[in-house]
Subunit: 278 residues, 2 copies
């Protein structure tokens, strides 16, 4: 018998989802085999459906087989599966993750919203290519660097890690960010240990937090004092929305909204049973 | 209802196989969507199972949606599916392809052998990086370039097309080839319009034909006059074997043998039906 799987993506950050595999069966070797883009199915990571008491638990693994704490794009795909499969009702769910419980809002159809937790502005003032960046933790470390124009953003060479001076102690993801309009950003991201990616949920949130903070400091927030807390962020893999209205409330969390698409359902073939091919 | 598919690979040249989709339904848009490695399933190409009179027809499409004539790695995966699914008996089959009918030998298990057609040594004498190459047609054009050592092969920079002087009129795939021993080669390949790939069936055959020809010219074929016609060729994605014993018989064909692995079977989700997720 094979291993049942789904493949899905959120803004082209893609996952193999395993709805009924026992935790002990998900070895690092199996994760690497599933995520291999030539010899396997291919994905950025694996999402195993587990249980956390009464809640669902998102057991997320990186493509290299290592454990990962939280992934905003993955959480949306995971929650979309739960609702589309009938395992959960549409509405608000709580997902267990290694970063703690996270709320997810899943309508019957369409975009999914996930609680990305509280951001933390760091004291570090790293410089990237002569430009001062902002350091933000979304659980993982980010350096957000403003870029003047979309053309300049498109021309960036991101095949190697950007030169961050000084680097954060744990290394960093780096987001290069252009303002397209009020609360509308476009970015490209270089992920620590991975390279440039099509999308990074925490990076998108970090970019909004850093830009919002810069606006507050400069007094240039065009929507300050309104109820409009939603930002739009364009990434290479699509469009995301971020709800954040500044750090006045230290307990405030960032909400990330975006597409979650299931594209295929199937069985990973194990052993010699070929009955599913007939 | 979704579209049934399999995913498989031959030496990490990977394919989405469609066992029961009508030809008219396989639009270039669908091919591109299926082959998209982030937003789709991901593959180098699509193999649709069709009919060619009494034979099976391998309707092969490149990932960009264009038609392709023949693919040695794809033909093995295609034939393995036919036998494993019970659609064909193990043994020798004839597959229709856009390059004409091709014989395929499929044991009940294990490696599959495919008739790659007759090679044609071309008159061109292109030079690559100061090294004279051999031009060979396997239906598609190849330039085969000898490299002295495996270390030198590993160090080659193949992120850009190699500089071939003069280029063949149709462009070319370029194989860089090290001799590891008698009838044992290792190569890396840059495919025309694609970049470096993990494996190229026609490129492996072209490398053997060019090396065999050079041996005959130089009188250095250590196995000349024996019945040993089999070469071993290591590519980044695995190991292939090629049966070829020189161009004495102008009707002789090259036989390519290697792995053909089906890794997953499933359904491409179309529309709103989510019944397969339950």
């Amino acid at each position: 018998m094979g291993v049942r799987f789904l493949k899905g993506h959120g803004t082209e950050n893609d996952f193999v989802l395993l709805p009924d595999l026992a935790e002990a069966a998900l070895t690092p070797e199996l994760v690497r085999a599933l995520c291999d883009r030539r010899a396997g199915i291919g994905a950025d990571g694996v999402l195993r459906v587990g249980r956390d008491g009464a809640d669902w638990f998102m057991d997320y693994r990186n493509a290299d087989g290592s454990l990962a704490e939280m992934c905003g794009n993955g959480a949306r795909v995971f929650a979309r599966y739960l609702v589309d499969s009938g395992r959960a009702e549409a509405g608000e769910l709580t997902l267990g993750t290694r970063a703690g419980p996270r709320r997810v809002r899943v309508p019957a159809r369409g975009d999914v919203t996930v609680d990305m937790g509280p951001p933390r502005l760091l004291d570090a003032r790293p410089v990237v290519g002569g430009v001062p960046g902002a350091a933000v933790s979304m659980g993982n470390p980010h350096v957000v660097v403003p870029v003047a124009t979309a053309a300049e953003l498109a021309a960036l060479e991101l095949t190697r890690p950007p030169d961050v001076v000084p680097p954060l102690p744990t290394g960093q993801n780096v987001e290069f960010v252009v303002r397209l309009g009020p609360r509308h950003l476009q970015l490209r991201v270089h992920e620590r240990g991975v390279g440039e990616t099509r999308s990074c949920g925490t990076g998108v949130c970090a970019a909004v937090v850093a830009t919002s903070d810069a606006d507050e400091t400069a007094g240039t927030d065009e929507t300050a004092g309104t109820d409009d807390t939603e930002w739009t962020v364009d990434v290479p893999g699509g469009r995301l929305r971020v709800a954040w209205n500044g750090a006045a409330d230290p307990a405030a969390v960032v909400w990330l909204t975006g597409p979650a698409v299931l594209v295929a359902a199937g069985e990973w073939l194990v052993g010699d049973d070929r009955s599913v091919l007939g």
